[in-house]
Amino acid sequence: MTITFNSKIPAGAIGDKWATYKEDAKLVAPGNKRKFKVIVVGTGLAGASAAATMAELGYQVDVFTFHDSPRRAHSIAAQGGINAAKNYQGDGDSVHRLFYDTIKGGDFRSRESNVHRLAEVSVNIIDQMVAQGVPFAREYGGLLDNRSFGGAQVSRTFYARGQTGQQLLLGAYQQLARQIGLGNVRMFNRTELVDVVTVDDRCAGIVTRDLVNGEVVSHAAHAVVMATGGYGNVFYLSTNAMACNVTAAWRAHRKGAAFANPCYTQIHPTCIPQSDPTQSKLTLMSESLRNDGRVWVPMNPDESRSADQVPEAERDYILERLYPSYGNLAPRDVSSRAAKRAVDAGLGVGPLKNGVYLDFSDAVNRLGKDVVEERYGNLFQMYERIAGENPYDVPMRIYPATHYTMGGLWVDYELMTNIPGLYAAGEANFSDHGANRLGASALMQGLADGYFVLPYTIGNYLAPMLNKPIPGTDHPAFKEAELAATARYQGYVDIKGSRSPDYFHREVGRIIWDYCGMERTQQGLEKALSELPALYEEFQKDLRVTGNAESMNQTLEKAGRVDDFFQLGMLMCRDALEREESCGGHFRAEYQTDEGEALRDDEKFAHVAAWEWTGDPTKSIRHSEELNFEAIHLATRSYK
């Protein structure tokens, strides 16, 4: 397949593009919608909302998740909130300002037209979710409450205690459940995508593996939506759930879908530092905590007193000092680097000196314990359970951790990959966050894509296909993919080496974190690119999966996912190596200002890097899509 990148951005002024698109889009008549089968893979915010809405419209929808229930998707773990340009607080917010903040937050590496549409539909999302019964936080007068998040100077974040993702996901899940109950959606639980099938350069369907009995099955459809989340687990330790993986997106990539900007990964500044080598994941502490918590380290590297004994004059409130206008709410990439530098300079706190303080004592004194508890109670409780310390009495200790991946499958304005009929939504695509995502924008994007974008754009693709036959699952392409998938999983069992998939996952993660983490250098990336293929070879020779491929086998599931992480990891390092600039979450030590801030190179790199699979992960081909900034002037990002 030859790759063409047509971003299909509608003509017209930035504020008119989406309206124009909707007016021009082809429609499928209500009675004809049931003639189309759409597959949705993943049931997070993007997947559940897309599936529910398309089923409401009348399409036949098949939905797949590897979880035991669609309600488990990792959107559920988002804590802090969801942005929307409602301007309910009257503090100067607008669609344009949310648009601008998102572009700037992404360090001018996202596509203007997509981001503007996101800001436009953000207001509909809140209306929709309230109508569904999401119990957002309210003021005593009964109106919706807002708070502020990083990278914004307005309060536009809606929240439901520290469980906003949970409440939104349950809202979308319930809409999906309604459609399942009505018979409009066929739901496949504990079923993992193992391949994407194309026929005549169009997406024809998918191949799945039933995780309970190992059965490999084909599913044909007119269109397929990948709402399969991000790839942060390539780092092994991340805030992602244990099962989050890149397999679905990666299998699409191997079938010709370009993978865009894989090196754009977000390191979230406020996670609980690692305490033990057995640790399997890192836990996020919501960014909302930075509304009232102050980040500091002692000025003396040999400080041995407890936090409350360190006098004010001997504390360095790093973010307030470096970024006075945004203070503790500086964006994630900027805040993470500040924390890393403090720890690297030996100023870290805690038994392993691997964190910085996030201190609530001022907030408790100013607002009282009750107010602080009301705002963050469940987060404090979660911290205490994990860290064994009470954050009302001693400051939290936090450190950055991988949290979100801005890169993903390349999509055009319609959220279609370069394979016709294959769409990507939510974190699985690359489109809206550029090189860094602002807090509370992931929930917004997932729901925007699923509720308000895909239902329109998919119709535009399907309409001309009315009454035309599509390849069935008896097509040789499906049979071939089934055989390949069966062989692949049997292959892992047959290696009979000596190391578990987890061992290899930890090792890949260590290499990626060390060389393609918060700070990257040419030398480090080259080192990673020499170490990874060697380790991958060892994986292929020395993997051990006990049990068989015909029954529930969690080790086998893991093996397949780790295999794909290896290949993705190599691509990430290549992407990071070739992007010779610093932008957002991609920080190349060679490219920084005198003050240590990211130094972009707009002349050479104001583009999206979209990678084409060639069969060898170290030899992928780099394509680019130029980013044209018409509504916003490229500027140096400053939060000082």
Binding site: P135, L143, V212, D276, I386
Partner: protein, 258 residues
């Protein structure tokens, strides 16, 4: 700095599939950090089993931050283990001591058939939600979110109920295997809100009756509340029962009108 627990005696339920009778198997965990979570302890055990060319213990888990509701486990006879309002994934080994015997079983309830080892099938919960655990609000055309003010106390009470993570601890802890806390929590969430009024009684009747198809009956033991990792109050069951009683009347009137 972390301390280490030594010589833990694990007694774990192994069952190769739904039709196998299953049995307990004994394992010794020589050493584990008290900073490890309970599931990380099982990870270490499983790594060891793979090392010995044996089958690792199958268990459900995902987010490991207490919110997805995937993890389960009866630990020493208690759903999610000894720490109150804590899921198994958030339980840490510092709650145990060296030499302890720890008995680990799957959720035991006829509505949750065992798939393998400690993994069960909880899809009966999905059936309950599918029967009415939603507000019908098709995408598009929703009125402005601030059009209907909702008293903070009402929003807070709805939020208290909607925190349910659908883990199934309530069913596992109940001597009757009843799902009244789970069902009541969703009914309370939606029935308390103004948006939920239109379908209030239709929802309640459908959900309660679907629940009864799969689960046992509530006899007010209150074990569910004690086991709930999100501390959902059994008040939601009272609310559900009251609305169910009303629904029998109201829905009949509705039918007679049509």
């Amino acid at each position: 700095m972390s301390n280490h627990l030594k010589n833990l005696k694990l007694k774990i339920w192994r069952q190769s599939g739904p039709t196998d009778t299953g049995h307990f198997e004994n394992y010794v965990m020589d050493e584990i950090s008290d900073e490890a979570s309970f599931l990380e302890m099982l990870d270490v055990l499983n790594e060891g089993l793979i090392g010995e060319n044996k089958l690792p213990v199958v268990f459900d888990h995902d987010c490991r931050e207490g919110i997805c509701g995937t993890c389960s486990l009866m630990i020493n006879g208690q759903a999610h283990g000894p720490e109150r309002s804590t899921t198994t994934c958030q339980l840490h080994m510092r709650k145990f001591k060296s030499g302890d015997e720890i008995v680990i079983e799957p959720w035991r309830a006829s509505a949750f058939p065992i798939i393998k080892d400690l993994m069960v099938d909880r899809s009966a919960f999905d059936r309950i939600i599918e029967s009415g655990g939603y507000i019908t609000a098709p995408t598009g055309g929703a009125p402005d979110a601030n059009l209907i003010p909702i008293p903070k106390t009402v929003a807070d009470a709805a939020m208290d109920a909607s925190q349910c993570i659908g883990c199934g601890a309530c069913v596992a802890a109940c001597p009757n295997g009843a799902a009244n806390l789970f069902t009541g929590a969703k009914i309370a969430h939606l029935n308390l809100l103004p948006q939920g009024q239109a379908e209030r009684f239709k929802r309640t009747e459908a959900m309660v009756e679907t629940m009864d198809e799969y689960f046992g009956s509530c006899t007010n033991h209150g074990e569910c509340e004690a086991a709930c990792p999100k501390e959902i109050s059994i008040d939601v069951i009272a609310l559900m029962n009251k609305d169910y009683r009303k629904s029998k009347l109201k829905n009949r009137k509705e039918i007679s009108r049509t």
